[in-house]
């Protein structure tokens, strides 16, 4: 029976890999997710035959509660709130790993039981990574939901404190290897890990959240893999490792898209200190050109090609449906409409793609930065909606700017630029954007959704 169960886990793990492979194309992705879910179902069903399980009542209780909550969350969540959703799901995964390892520890320190050093190492790794994932994800989700301020929170000796906490975890862990039966030390170690999870996420600003969410995603997988070491389960190790790898790759892609290193994102507190960077006085004196919905509508209607460059502001005002409505109207007039998606636009990888997909924008119209950048030169009008740093030419030509070197959407190469923006407040990173002062740029101030609704009305009357 044990052999049969192990084989079933191998099948489950294979289905996870096939499922992830199918995620490589939008046409097969949904099927891939289904295949992966079948793998999970197989894993759960065969585990019920595990001889170690003596009673099922508690499994059923936990399973029913968890399934109901998961189903409710997945159904109720708005597409704009997807980053928080993924963040909080990471947290639950980490929490589960923490609890499983802690339960195994408690069983093995009972009189008569024996805790081998190897198992102890994996138990501590599992509870610690799980703990950091749990508390870090809660803080990240809180920041994304704006329950906690999205600004980076920095204080003196922050890094020193984190180092001390890490060292103390190491010390307690080593002590626990020698004499594992001390609940006080075990609890203290895990409390410190939870505190550490909070401390590593609070100094990271909202715009850097894509990297953090990816890393926490990776940790939730690694915690699961460590739990696999604890109970010697191949299925857990493979599943956890796949997720661990996936999170690391995504975090890397995000860092590259911002031209920053992991270390810079994690320790930089980006956005907290840039207020000190002097704003170009000449720029500010030039002033911006404000436009009306009527004029902007005329400009759009008489363009041959329009590229929409969306940013986090689109998600905030939930304007994705209005964008598509405007695009439809323009297309009916014979205007070509495309979308330029910067890899770090929004608060998580692929955030803009999901929002626009929700509004039924066909995905072939969504172009990556590399695909769209050569096209801006031939574009009549770019409509920037709630994006700021990802379209800031300072990244190309201002070596003093904190975002210098970051790959951006070259929207300033288009013939006309219309920027929809709430106000002239600088963007998240607090960096002045010279695009707004460009002679080709006009600004349409106001909430993105309201501005778009006005544009739709005006385009109808052109």
């Amino acid at each position: 029976m044990a052999g049969f169960i192990a084989l079933a886990y191998l099948i489950a793990a294979s289905l996870f890999i096939i499922g992830l492979k199918r995620l490589a194309a939008p046409a097969t992705a949904r099927q891939g997710n289904f295949i992966s879910a079948i793998g999970m179902l197989i894993a759960i069903v065969v585990t019920l035959f595990d001889r170690q399980i003596l009673s099922f009542q508690w499994i059923v209780v936990g399973g029913v509660i968890g399934s109901a909550m998961g189903l409710w969350m997945a159904r109720a969540v708005k597409m704009t709130a997807m980053p928080q959703m993924v963040g909080i799901l990471n947290g639950f995964g980490g929490g589960a790993s923490l609890l499983v390892a802690a339960a195994v520890w408690h069983r093995l320190i009972q009189p008569g039981a024996f805790l081998p050093v190897e198992t102890a190492v994996s138990i501590y790794a599992s509870t610690l990574i799980g703990g950091v994932t749990l508390s870090g994800s809660i803080v990240a989700a809180g920041k994304l939901q704006e329950v906690i301020s999205g600004r980076p929170l920095l204080f003196r000796f922050q890094h020193a404190l984190n180092l001390i906490l890490c060292l103390s975890i190491g010390g307690m862990g080593t002590y626990m290897l020698i004499s594992p039966g001390h609940p006080g030390v075990f609890i203290a170690m895990n409390v410190v890990a939870l505190v550490l999870g909070v401390l590593v996420v609070i100094p990271i600003g909202g715009a850097d959240m894509p990297v953090v969410i990816c890393l926490l995603n990776s940790y939730s997988g690694l915690a699961a893999a460590m739990t696999g070491f604890v109970i010697s389960n191949h299925g857990l190790i493979i599943g956890g490792a796949l997720v661990g790898a996936s999170g690391i790759i995504l975090a890397q892609i995000m860092c590259r898209a911002m031209n920053r290193s992991f270390a810079n994102v994690l320790f930089g507190g980006f956005g907290a200190e840039v207020a000190a960077v002097a704003v170009d006085r000449g720029l500010a004196a030039k002033g911006v050109r404000e436009t009306t919905a009527e004029d902007a509508a005329v400009l759009l209607s008489y363009s041959r090609s329009v590229v929409v460059a969306p940013g986090y502001g689109l998600a905030v005002s939930q304007a994705q449906h209005q964008v598509r409505e405007l695009a439809d109207l323009l297309e009916k007039r014979g205007v070509t409409v495309k979308y330029a998606i910067h890899p770090v636009a929004g608060r998580m990888p692929g955030h803009m793609n999901v929002l626009l997909a929700e509004a039924d924008v066909p995905y072939p119209q969504l172009l990556d930065m590399e695909q769209i950048n050569p096209e801006f030169e031939w574009t009549d009008t770019v409509l920037v909606i709630g994006a700021n740093d990802v379209v800031n030419p300072a990244a190309r030509n201002a070596p003093a700017s904190p975002i210098y070197g970051m790959p951006i959407l070259d929207v300033d190469r288009a013939r006309h630029i219309i920027v929809l923006k709430r106000s002239m407040n600088p963007g998240f990173a607090g960096i002045e954007n010279e695009l707004f002062y460009n002679e080709k740029t006009v600004m349409l101030f106001g909430d993105a959704r309201k501005s778009l609704t006005r544009l739709i009305d005006e385009v109808k009357h052109v």
Partner: protein, 98 residues
């Protein structure tokens, strides 16, 4: 270091490589569903949670196990359902609605 542990490490490292290979091929468009979908896979901790909740070792272990089962199921069900919700929105052409 026992042979058993070495085998587990081999599996872990090779699975990481497979993960790197497979995930690199996922296009930017699908990165959000990839995250929520892989998140659901990390709910594989459900296996461990079920064993711990069901083996009746100590009361504390059982309590931890039940909470772990609930957490992992939120991860599994929430992850797969929300991924499916997102993926069904990705369309090549506009559907018959208009």
């Amino acid at each position: 270091m026992t042979e058993g542990l070495v085998i587990l490490l081999v599996i872990f490292v090779l699975a990481m490589f497979v993960g790197f290979e497979v995930v690199t091929k996922v296009p930017t468009t699908l990165h959000t569903p990839l995250m929520s979908g892989s998140n659901a896979i990390s709910g594989i901790t459900i296996i461990g949670s079920m064993v711990v909740a069901g083996m009746g070792a100590t009361t504390l272990a059982t309590i931890f196990g039940v909470i772990a089962v609930a957490f992992a199921m939120i991860n599994v069900v929430g992850g797969y359902v929300v991924t499916d919700r997102m993926l069904q929105m990705f369309k090549r052409k506009r559907e018959a609605e208009r």
